[in-house]
């Protein structure tokens, strides 16, 4: 008998893990590219749109429980130092205050390397204490009454200062992560550079970017009789449950985590938040329901960020453009903690090159910890690599797109695996065609006007194949309606709708009869976090298996009623037909006859194919106008061609592309967390001063999908698509700006604020 439990490789956020998986009860044959599908692939309306346009959708921030108390946090007004005195009693003396907690009152838990309410201050705005009161207003007033003395020390604010020989120690073992430098190498780069006929060398810099989700990190906790229910704004209810259960010494059965709606995550909400630990600790202590939400300054300063990088890049090539060597030496500023989302990976993957070497140094500083942020690492890496490719193209006098085509990677070269599907060549072809790349490149330059036009492009890749474990249950109700139960989350991506479509397709149901129930650890089977663009490709196949099981049961029941063999039945629009006859029954009729028999199908996600790379691809093109007198950059249009396998819902998928592109635009032009270089205190912790794009900043966007169902990746043929669209935008824009400036200067640093552009122009003079 074949083994039921096997291992398989799953990639999440650029990290590959080995997972155990129980083989699903069945392994449906893939929906081929030319399969006749009726619901999957359709522009079905977003299923929770009605709740969202009427204000009925209840987010964590909207949960109001009877008798609920409100918590507020005291945050350190220094970036480094030690709490030498902390007196909570003045806060507790204020009428309406119900409790206060600090270091000694919470479990010994570290969040990104920092103990909850740590008495050692590692970064500005680190929480020091929390107060809980009848209203938020009283809690905030009480926080200001706390007497807190901090003995400050000079903070280590930048990666460069942390690496200086006389730098103070940021973490006990030193200022770099123990794995640093992390070296990844194939071939022999020294030999590759000797073979090169042309070599370029550049240094690129990227900023710290902030997620700026509109709904802040926050939780509502209801501790009662040894169990706790927690509403949390999270991308992972099961991760949050595991974190809280461990911290508070509870079995998983005593922790229920709910996230029905959430107002943006973008990678920063992947487990129990500081707010959740605080709310649970206070609820446990007081026996009351407690809400703790980050305020906006807390969200902008202590809720994760994209690491700043410095990337020193060398690329060697032959005169015909063939790459012979790529080397990267990168410094990545983590802040006080986080994980190692370095820029190197895309340097190894995007182009065919026998000799690639990267060295990544991860640096600790006295700044807030990083966290995943939409395609972490690869957004930063794509900026360096893709700008360097353009610098090489200029050096060679070659069309940048042609240079990329000449170095097309046909397989994952580091791991020596074929891709399950790769249609980047189609992205190049169709993207260039719709953009008018050749015309744009040939356009005559008008150097008399201060406003110059330029075009640029960049390509991208991202591991987005998903994988196990993920589970779903499909239930057919007594009236023929269908519930899809799965413990995933919908961050605004459209997961609710996508899962309902996959179930409806499989069952032959009308999609309007299907609802998806998600975001609740108590009532729903496990799925992983909604991260790494994995949800559709991970959960979708589980939903399909569950729906197939349910359909088979339904057909068996209907077969008797229709006096037919189950194999002779087919269904469409919630009607079961006997093939080649006019006999049919609606789902509702079958279910009515069954009475209270409940048809239930269970499904799970099977293993990934062996020795195969599962990736999404894309090519993005930008046209800009640069005013050489003011340094102002205006992006006129973006064309983005993406290959993410089968698209379950084109409307929702295009929304993801547009959103990712607009976030990429912000990263390219405006967004940059500013800290005072000496004190490490935040300078732009508001939505006015930290510039995210507004509607007035948005260029014309033409974003679309090429490619076909990836039937090797999984049996739905879908791959992930939420993260890829942010990856190529900044380099495409930077390359277009360099083109507008006549190629005499390189653009090496983002965001492309007017003063940076002017500095580039100055350098060229």
């Amino acid at each position: 008998m074949a083994k039921r439990f096997v291992t398989t490789k799953v990639e999440v956020e650029g990290r590959e893990e080995t997972k155990t998986v129980e083989l699903p009860s069945r392994n449906p044959s893939p929906w081929q590219d030319d399969a006749e599908l009726h619901v999957v692939g359709q522009r079905v309306q977003r299923m929770d749109a009605l709740e969202k346009v009427t204000g009925a959708a209840r987010y964590t921030a909207d949960v109001q429980l009877a008798g609920m108390l409100h918590a507020a946090l005291l945050r350190a007004p220094a970036a480094r130092g030690r709490v030498t005195a902390l007196d909570l009693s003045p806060a507790l003396a204020i009428p309406g205050v119900r409790g206060a907690i600090a270091f000694d009152d919470v479990p010994d838990v570290k969040l990104d390397g920092v103990r909850l309410f740590d008495r050692t201050i590692h970064y500005a705005n680190q929480p020091v204490a929390a107060v809980c009161a009848d209203s938020l207003e009283i809690a905030e007033r009480a926080v200001r009454a706390i007497v807190c003395t901090i003995e400050p020390e000079p903070p280590v604010v930048s990666a460069e200062s942390a690496l200086a020989p006389d730098a103070a120690r940021v973490r006990p073992h030193g200022n770099t992560h123990r794995s640093s430098p992390r070296i990844l190498s194939r071939g022999d780069v020294d030999e590759g550079f000797r073979e090169a006929e042309v070599t370029i060398e550049r240094e690129y810099r990227t900023p710290v970017a902030l997620h700026t989700a509109l709904e802040p990190h926050g939780a509502v906790a209801d501790w009662s009789a040894g169990s706790v229910t927690v509403w949390e704004s999270t991308q992972g209810v099961f991760n949050t449950r595991a974190d809280l259960a461990e911290a508070f010494g509870l079995p998983l059965t005593a922790v229920r985590v709910i996230s029905h709606y959430m107002g943006g995550g973008f990678g920063a909400k992947n487990g129990a938040s500081f707010a959740a630990y605080t709310a649970v600790a206070l609820s446990k202590r007081l026996g009351r329901r407690v809400r703790c939400l980050f305020d906006r300054e807390g969200e902008q300063t202590d809720a994760g960020n994209r690491s700043a990088t410095i990337q020193r890049v060398r690329i060697g090539a032959r005169r015909d453009g063939t790459l012979t060597a790529i080397s990267l030496d990168a410094t990545i500023a983590l802040g006080i903690g986080g994980w190692l989302a370095g820029p190197a990976r895309i340097y190894h993957e995007l182009y065919r090159c026998p000799n690639v070497r990267s060295a990544e140094t991860f640096v600790f500083t006295n700044t807030a910890p990083m966290s995943s942020f939409r395609a972490p690492g690869s957004v930063e890496g794509a900026f360096g690599l893709e700008c360097a490719m353009d610098a090489l193209a200029r050096e060679l006098g070659m069309d940048p797109l042609e240079l990329r085509r000449r170095n097309y990677a046909t397989h994952d070269q580091d791991k020596r695996r074929p891709y399950s599907g790769k249609h980047l060549d189609e992205c190049y072809r169709l993207g260039a065609e719709r953009f008018g790349w050749d015309t744009g490149r040939r356009r005559k330059r008008d150097d008399t006007s201060p406003v110059r036009r330029g075009v640029g492009m960049a390509s991208l890749t991202w591991g987005a194949g998903g994988g196990p474990p993920a589970y779903a249950t499909v239930r057919i109700n007594q009236d023929g309606t269908i519930d899809v139960l799965t413990g995933t989350q919908d961050l605004g991506t459209g997961a609710r709708t996508v899962m309902a479509q996959i179930a409806a397709e499989t069952l032959g149901a009308n999609v309007d009869d299907v609802r998806t129930v998600l975001g609740d650890t108590e009532r729903l089977p496990f799925t992983p976090n909604s991260w790494g663009s994995i949800t559709t490709a991970s959960v979708g196949p589980a939903v399909r298996v569950a729906a197939e099981e349910a359909r088979d049961s339904l057909f068996e029941a209907a077969a008797g009623m229709l006096d037919a063999d189950p194999d002779d039945l087919e269904s469409r629009d919630s009607e079961i037909h006997v093939k080649h006859s006019d006999r049919c029954l609606r789902f509702s009729e079958v279910c009515e006859k069954l009475g209270d028999v409940m048809i239930i199908g269970q499904g799970s996600r099977g293993p990934n194919p062996d020795k195969t790379a599962l990736s999404a691809f894309g090519a993005q093109f930008a046209e800009v106008e640069v005013n050489v007198e003011t340094g102002n950059v205006r992006v006129l249009r973006i064309v983005a061609a993406h290959d993410s396998g089968r698209i379950v819902n084109p409307t929702l998928a295009e929304s993801q592309l547009e959103g990712g592109i607009i976030q990429g635009l912000g990263y390219a032009l405006y967004e940059e967390r500013m800290l005072d270089g000496r004190s490490g205190l935040p300078l732009n912790p508001t939505m006015h001063d930290y510039k995210v794009p507004t509607v007035a900043d948005v260029p014309q966007i033409d974003a679309f999908f090429v490619g076909t169902a990836d039937v090797v990746a999984n049996h739905t043929g879908a791959k992930g698509l939420a993260e890829p669209p942010i990856i190529g935008v900044a380099p495409a824009i930077a390359n277009a700006v360099a083109d507008a400036l006549g190629g005499a200067t390189d653009v090496t640093e983002i965001p492309l604020t007017p003063w940076r552009v002017q500095a580039s122009i100055e350098r060229a003079r």
Binding site: A61, Q64, L214, M262, M687
Partner: protein
Amino acid sequence: MRLIVNGAEHDVAAPDHETLLTTLRDRLSLTGTKLVCARGECGACTVLLDGISAYACLTLTAACDSRAVTTIEGLGRDSDLDPIQAAFVEHDALQCGFCTPGQIMAAASLLHENPAPTESEVVRGMSGNLCRCGAYPKIVRAVQAAALSANGKSANG
């Protein structure tokens, strides 16, 4: 004091410094109006005050005595959606949805003042409302479609 919200009268004992946002969310449990920046920077708390958009986070409840406040809950519901809400649904002009009530209320004010805006007028009118998911292209399309459908309706009597 007397507060008229979505056509219903409420006796509200709000202190003088309380914002309309707090009153709506915490006293009246109208949580469709969102708290995001609390300082008039993002537009998520946009409501209508006598038909004109206002940031609820910067408006004192005390200043709203006997004035008509309209929130997203009062605009339209279920099968009786306002054309703007219907257009947001149809054009998928939202993702996470957290900014959506504010966007829709801003659009309502815009279309009230300018029933047939050009694209650039829509962009200018909506530029005070941030959407981090980047639903902007579809928001612009939805507002334009809502204007067309409302005008179509009135033209047809």
